[in-house]
Symmetry: C2
Subunit: 433 residues, 2 copies
């Protein structure tokens, strides 16, 4: 897992987004890595690179590493279970009783090893992760993710009300103190793993805690992640809990917990975010983590992504495991397409369905922007790359590289990840049997 | 592929539906096969079976083979491509130009071998299949399916108007004559492969052809399959093509093409079937092939399955490849769940989302009923069984057999099919590397 300082190239069928409407492909081309960054994509290897190591993936797809803007690590091991429930009932029945177990460090270490291993072997190269309220097990998760070579933000969760099973912290003061201790313990510890302030959502955080976290984030110049407007019952509850707020987003804003454009907050879901919430998010430069599979599985609804894009808002995709069933970003992309088609058909005929190009962009460059120049192969972008064997899907005609990527998204189960790089370092390689 | 006349048992974690609200499980139990039929599920092997061969799948899931009520074999090799289009545009751009190639028998033989191979290694044990208008290549497909050991209905498609690329047959008379010739050529040829009369849909069939096919089906006591009320533009077109009809289903009825309860017709989609169409289908004992992934992918909409079930109608699931992207019935089940949740949330709050139990039933016993006593492990049911290794999905707690099946549906990519039987005959076994 040493940083790769050498210059090398991957040879294969290369594909990446330049903007939300354009996918660029290079069949049988070269993707060059210099000092962890893309030096560009070439049809022939330029003379200046003659003699560099070329990893031959001829016939395979080479796509940018993907960004999962919203995933709950402690929920991973019960994914796909109890999905007939809606959000608040599901949290009380499945989530909180599981998360309380992470007080036990040995339990957390084992469970997080399953999460980390599977994250390493999927399309994700960057992730923004919820842990639990527990400091030590959150550090354990961060240690494991650091060792994996992936680049992540990880949040110790804050909760001081309305959980079950004694999961919440005693009070706002305790929760804030725990958070400061956590930050002190990890200071200088990681190269690729950053802390992120993580109030679970308004129902789990008293006004005092939420204000304290907003102030702490500002003081330490840390980013914030949370949930916004996911489910009708949840939204109604927030209205009761913060009666002075004009919207759920405004409740965060009242407590100074919306971050700022230079340290943008991630808000997961935004299924029911109308004009007011959109304006608030634009003001603070918020990234929306669109989690369509979760939103379908928990019967939450469908977020109006077309409207977010038309308004020029920042959007990426989230698997939201375990309300989303898998960390496979291809599956998340497919759900994004399907959800936007159903939004157009069933909710608003003026909200054109997302194109494949747009969804590919969201999964790569859109979410990647949260990490900087990430999610594309344009020159200067971090060299995050995944090599994909799609040869199980036989065709009777010549299929373009663009078509093969679409086919892979619609048939994720038949795609095999062969090789994976983060910022120029190989972090996964399929072992041949 | 000889018929298995021996008595044997599979040992493992067994699961099946008895009705749409109840899944029965037997952890570490025995599923006994006698003369191709289930002799029941047992906690301990009864004394009368002592000494029979027991195939040890301890720790693996054993589920009933699934029925795919609607799949287009010639579309398989371009699945997952061009999915930003809606139905009629997609047919003209992708489907018809491909299907016309099946006039070439060598082409068809190769393409159908890909289809048949993949059908053999998925959860499906029974399928109802569209071929193309071409007689010889349809027979080629039937030969391949017969050799596979699966049990299927296959239809030579009828079309005498409105296709592109010269795909349609010359006129109604030609189409009918071709169909009779096809039936004569295959008479007595197969044990497991049955012909089914297959008018593509109203837009592809003149009134004369549709009437002729209805009469032919009645005369030969054959079943019929077609498409119904899939897409708003299609429905509008049918209204123009058959101005005397009161609904799309009524148009089929006018031409005597709705079959009868003793030889039930399959109608795929029924996305926009209201009370009149439901009444017509009930009168004729129609099976609805619910194809939710297709309906999302082509922006068609969501069929009101809850209403169909409440009315006591016959419903099964269809992958509808290539508008559906894969023949994996677990994926179809997941889309069924997600679609019904979105229908509840976005269309009709009185149409309760389908439960996991209901969807499991639809994929197994619901669709299986089209073939008789198929899709369950109750005594006397045909022994269609699939053995599933789900050990890639590690959990931190004891997971029940019921929970593991749900988890498999939500994580199809991590499930490995180990063994597959149709009517007591093993037709697939994973080769260990």
């Amino acid at each position: 897992m040493n940083q790769n300082t050498t210059t090398f190239a991957l040879k294969g069928d290369i594909v990446y987004a330049v903007d939300k409407d354009h996918i660029v492909t290079q069949k049988d081309g070269y993707l060059v890595c210099e000092k962890g960054k893309s030096a560009g994509v070439f049809k022939e290897l330029p003379a200046k690179y003659s003699g560099i190591k070329v990893v031959d993936h001829t016939g395979r797809l080479i796509v940018p590493g993907m960004t999962d803007l919203h995933v709950h690590a402690p929920q991973y091991t019960y994914r796909g279970i109890g999905m007939d429930l809606e959000l608040l009932e599901w949290l009380n029945t499945h989530t909180f009783p599981e998360e309380v177990k992470y007080e036990n460090l040995a339990y957390a270490a084992k469970a997080y090893s399953y999460f980390t291993y599977d994250l390493q072997r999927c399309f994700t190269t960057r992730a923004v992760v919820f842990a639990t309220v527990h400091t030590d097990s959150t550090i354990e998760l961060m240690d494991q993710l650091e060792a994996s070579g992936m680049i992540t933000y990880v949040g110790k969760v804050n909760m001081d009300r309305n959980s079950v099973c004694n999961l919440e912290e005693k009070d706002a003061e305790t929760s804030l103190r725990n958070t400061v201790e956590w930050l002190e313990k990890i200071e200088g510890r990681y190269r690729n793993t950053s802390p992120i302030i993580t109030p679970r959502f308004i129902p789990s955080c008293t006004d005092e805690l939420m204000s304290g976290l907003g102030a702490l984030a500002a003081k330490k110049q840390l980013r914030i992640q949370s949930h916004l407007s996911e489910n009708p019952s949840e939204i109604q509850w927030v209205r009761e809990l913060v009666p002075a707020s004009t919207s759920y987003a405004n409740a965060y804003e009242m407590f100074g917990a919306m971050g700022s454009p230079d340290r943008p907050t991630i808000m997961a879901h935004c299924v029911y975010s109308g004009p007011e919430e959109m304006a608030i998010m634009q003001k603070y430069g918020t990234f929306i983590a669109h989690c369509p599979e979760s939103n379908m599985n928990l019967t939450s609804g469908i977020a109006p992504v077309r409207k977010f894009l038309d308004a020029g808002m920042k959007v990426g995709l989230g698997s939201d495991v375990a309300a989303g069933s898998s960390m496979d970003m291809l599956k998340t992309m497919l759900c994004t397409l399907q959800a936007s088609k159903m939004y157009f058909r069933l909710v608003d005929n003026n909200a054109k369905a997302l194109t494949f190009e747009e969804v590919f962009y969201l999964a790569t460059k859109g979410g990647g922007a949260y990490f900087g120049k990430v999610g594309s192969f344009e020159k200067g972008y971090d060299f995050d790359a995944v090599v994909l064997d799609d040869s199980l899907m036989v065709s009777m005609r010549e299929v373009t590289v663009r078509e093969r990527v679409e086919r892979a998204v619609y048939n994720d189960a038949d795609c095999i990840i062969m090789d994976k790089y983060v910022a120029g370092t190989q972090i996964w390689k399929k072992q041949c049997v």
